[in-house]
Symmetry: D4
Subunit: 211 residues, 8 copies
């Protein structure tokens, strides 16, 4: 486990049998193996063969084994709407499996700015923020304006018509006039958590080797 992170399988386009085999090989060398984008029925099939496989249905993640790492700091995850939850949970479960504390703040979209402002202390005191939003994707701009920490923006494919499968939200995030925002692929909650994890690990390294 060179990176200190779990081994990860991207399940899309793989048969249950292929996934089972990869898990089998990976767990020899890694205390924690996880699979993303795993449908519930495939997870069930796998559980018959791999007794200790845990499944997180909203996040569509399966995990086998434990991560003994514990890091200082936490990942704060913010979503614009209920429909963004699967992507946000993919980020949250990934973060937790990697050994981080995760704080969830759901349903604080910009069209009702009050709800967001009511929780502004969560934003201003965050270590690192993952902001998940579909449709117009404006939430990361507002959040990054309030925050003073790195912000990871995750566009989701939620929407219709000119949301173009998340493209509108993606462009919004890339064009943000707020600073300190890094963007990941549409619906890529996993990738956002991995980047957040890299950032918090860097902070932990600084903390350890301090003076």
């Amino acid at each position: 486990l060179r990176t200190g992170f779990p081994e990860v399988i991207w399940s899309q386009g793989k048969t249950p049998e292929q996934i089972r085999q990869i898990i089998h090989v990976m767990r020899q060398n890694s205390p924690l193996v996880m699979a993303t984008r795993l449908e519930a029925d495939v997870a069930e099939t796998l559980q018959e063969q791999i007794q200790d496989l845990r499944y997180y249905p909203l996040a569509k993640i399966a995990a086998i084994g434990q991560n003994s790492n514990k890091y200082k700091g936490k990942i704060s995850i913010v979503t614009a709407g209920t429909a963004d939850l699967p992507v946000a949970e993919e980020a949250a479960i990934t973060g937790e499996l990697c050994g981080f504390t995760v704080e969830r703040l759901w349903d604080v979209g910009v069209a009702g700015i009050h709800r967001l402002l009511n929780h502004r202390h969560l934003i201003t005191q965050a270590d690192i923020l993952i902001v998940v939003a579909g449709m117009e994707g404006a939430l990361p701009s507002v959040v990054a304006g309030l925050a003073n920490c790195p912000v990871i923006a995750v566009p989701t494919s939620i929407g219709y018509g000119t949301s173009f499968g998340g493209l509108s939200a993606l462009l919004t995030m890339l064009n943000s006039c707020a600073t300190g925002i890094g963007v990941v692929n549409i619906d890529n909650g996993f990738g956002a958590a991995m980047l957040a994890g890299q950032i918090l690990r860097l902070a932990n390294r600084f903390s350890e080797k301090k003076e």
Copy 2:
């Protein structure tokens, strides 16, 4: 003057001489003629021949004659950034020439939500709002969430890279999860003012025929 609005010339792709001739014909029948998207040097040339031609350089609008209409209510125009001013002024001057009171609120982009919130009474008490924004174009979503009146969103071509000449801002506005927003073409301050004018005139008609 069937509509009660000025006669309007779209100057793009017309020679000074063509514009002069159209003005000449139009002013016979209309107390107020205006030309949009008129470059400063062309305006100067025209002023030599049309003594009473007034020119608004930031808005790139020329006007000849006066509008005697005066309507109740006002058009409130909000911009995200300084670079959006030419489009916002195109809307403002058009609105004023049509006989409306115009209120300007410049430079209240979402990345610094404080400035916007400091002026929230202007938003909540507006009759009708025109919101002008480039780059990620998130301002109309936030404004419409605070407001309780019609909102006209104008994407601008301000930005670079993935702003794609205003496309990003346009998509943001069309996908807004706030309600009560109508969108016009990129950089179309004129069209936004004309729609706002139609809306305020409807309100004036209701007001007049009241009881």
Copy 3:
């Protein structure tokens, strides 16, 4: 009910149980709750648990409770073709639930301009027009040229090939050389009605406070 409008649930990507819970919470504080984009089978499931839930199948809207507001003026809705009806009805039912009178003018596409011209008095005397069109989306331009009131243009995803899921109609509407048009997202009948509602409420406010 700050805005005077019903509470609204966007049903896409929510489970029946989630929708039921949100309705349950919302109806405590709001005399009228509505859900858009609700499939017929989900509506049926919900009706077993919520006896007073009404369902409008063409509009795919469910409503619980009544709106006591009654506003002056009416929303006139115009469609180009039969296939645009679901979107037009989403607008119509939304408008009626919000307390407005709705007038429907179906199937007056520009390829047979006679039918539209036969009804031109409906256009010229309208308070506010919602124009719904797919394929080439040219109807709002012609209607706005005849009308002297605000026009809300709704592109639909009806068509094939280069209609690109409503993109062609959307671009047509944004580029209209007629003035006084505000555009909403593809298939967004709901949003068009909410904007029309905001406009008519503004007119009602002017009408009331008139002295």
Copy 4:
């Protein structure tokens, strides 16, 4: 002259000298040579060397020699706005050089449908129509609905923002729910006239070999 049409040079990306040489070769075998998309200054240079070269500045076409063909029937060309004139004139001059009678109907865009309806007899009695429009490009749909003859639609690059250099007008024309419309490339007045010419020549052949 196999086709009975002039020899044609597309001047874009060619030097004056290259164009001169091609004209020199072509006129050996062809009574009429024409060059499209020729800038005025290049035309002037060429006129010094080719005394009988005629230049049509609005159409940006040069012609050398005469066409002795005369065909029955006429090509009717309709434009939406003044800015579409260069493309319409490219079609008109091409049609005339090919030996056809051309009828021009300028500035009858759909936003003021009255002007178009005032000239409807020109539409209903046409042999073949070329309809030239930029921005939203809705004119061909309305014209084809009124007409009972072939309609050739030419999108122009006139507009701004979401006109996307003529793409919006093009999509409108391809998606028209009116029938009997063939579309050519953006700004391709020349191609429209050539297609109209082929159609009228077919009609002339039918007329000749009749009974």
Copy 5:
């Protein structure tokens, strides 16, 4: 029957019952009613209620009644590949129902230019050509280069990857350096036949009024 063409129903997005009702109304006034894009199962349902409804499964067209018109000349339809047949047949059946003679030349794509050249007399002697092609859509360019008559190009959605649902073929046809080509929407065999019909009817009118 003002136009002399059948009444046509576009079946997409209509229920069998709606289609049945429209047929019922239309056949009162029209000797021939046709419906395009009608799925086989819907056609079967309709045949139970409308005994004289004929169904052309490859073209997905239903017809009721007869067309007594007979026109001089023929429509020649050329396809690049087997997969383009449904679109080509939509054109062919439409043409025949409108009263035209139709000639079919299938499977002569440009990658094996020999097959096309072997049939070049069909091309050079055609009255009017409809050329149907998917993937790269190059056939109309080659055909129009050989032909001396109007050519109608129909891009199809056949292909994968960068064919982008027919967009690649469409762009090829619009950019053709051959002249005399009019383009219709992707997969619009119906529209191509209607345009061909308008062209041949014009030729018939010329032929008749000839003295």
Copy 6:
């Protein structure tokens, strides 16, 4: 100076006079003011009025005043090609002005992987990496695969044809199968540095409050 970062002016679309005024206001409250995307001639004009304005021509950045902050850790910036230097320098100068140590590794594109591998220790030992690449934009994937720290990917508009102004590089970076990558807008070296700065400041905070 709430954020601890300099005040920043985005110079695009502002006149020298406007920029001068904004600098004048900002420097009252901020020890360090910087302007990005400032052309050399404008900088020269400004230097006549603001004696202590420093200009970095490759980065197109002007700075007034000093930043007293000094942070632990460094920002490592890697470029694929020479033409990416202006964007990389925008990032580098921004980083240095914000108080960070910056390490530059130029011209290590993936087409000659040897050069990159020769410097792999710089990659594996980095605190945080900014990777700048145009054309195919593949460098961040390879770098992130070697690194074990956060990676910020900056697509540039360098290239031609299908580079589509940086779109190709942007898509590459968003789709990277390496993890730990956050992407910013095309050519946005400034934004990359600000995100890197936020990340390093977080690490510094952790370091300080340690134990």
Copy 7:
């Protein structure tokens, strides 16, 4: 068999019966017939009628007959990820059916450059390389930088979000700053093998006619 290659049927959009008939005709004149993009269930149906039909399920290719050609040299096929295997196998089986030796190197994506570098001798000693990659599609750039032979790049539709069905990988490959790369359509393993085959046959011809 003019080309020396098998006869090939593209099965998409063809019925089993159509495919059977085409096979029947083709095998009269060709020792080897193959069908690509053939689904497993269709293959099974065909095997009932064509006893000697072999089916390669991963490649979705069927073959009837044998190819007696044997060529010098080999085609080396490299893939980035497991999900790219079907496309890679389409190339591999096509190459083998054409008479070439095929070498497979699976799962050497750029995010873990070590695996690729461990096999670099396969790259540097290859005759011709087919590189198959989805998502960001960066592998061909790195491979072509290591190799000194022709490289054929095949983008796959593997990925999600901004992979846009293979578009991102395609653009990456077209923009590669490595030289000696030819690109084929998304998922076109067949086409890549045919191009590789043409290249190796050219080399065989040179080898034969040598001095």
Copy 8:
């Protein structure tokens, strides 16, 4: 000179001084250095400092030194139109500088298939073909259908309107139903020649190590 090819500088975005320095370094180790996309005025400046710099104005290539390699076989380059010449010459000069014999066949576009067929022996007897075409880009499909050797297709940015800067030609080439085609970036004559060179060198290697 590991690859046996010249060292190449891509001049876009480099100053004359930068190019001069790179040439200076490269020529120490390489008998032949070339620079592509070099404007004529920059070349002139360089020639003052580098006496033996040769400049090919149509190809916009500069070369210093000689290539002693001579390979068997030739590269045949075919263009559709005159405007494609600069790209074709970039390919031709690159090929010659690399030590290959180049055969040029200009102006054989598909709209006049006769000219191409008149030269078919050049196609059928070619070792390797580079086919350069803009606008609809159909030429490679027809050529590859006639040829029995590898074909490299180069889309050019020649055209207007829907040619979209070469995108239309590119898509045509990627979607070609002819086999044996590899595509390079828009206007990338250099890359096409390098790929052709790799292919011919492979053939030369086979020829040498023969038996």
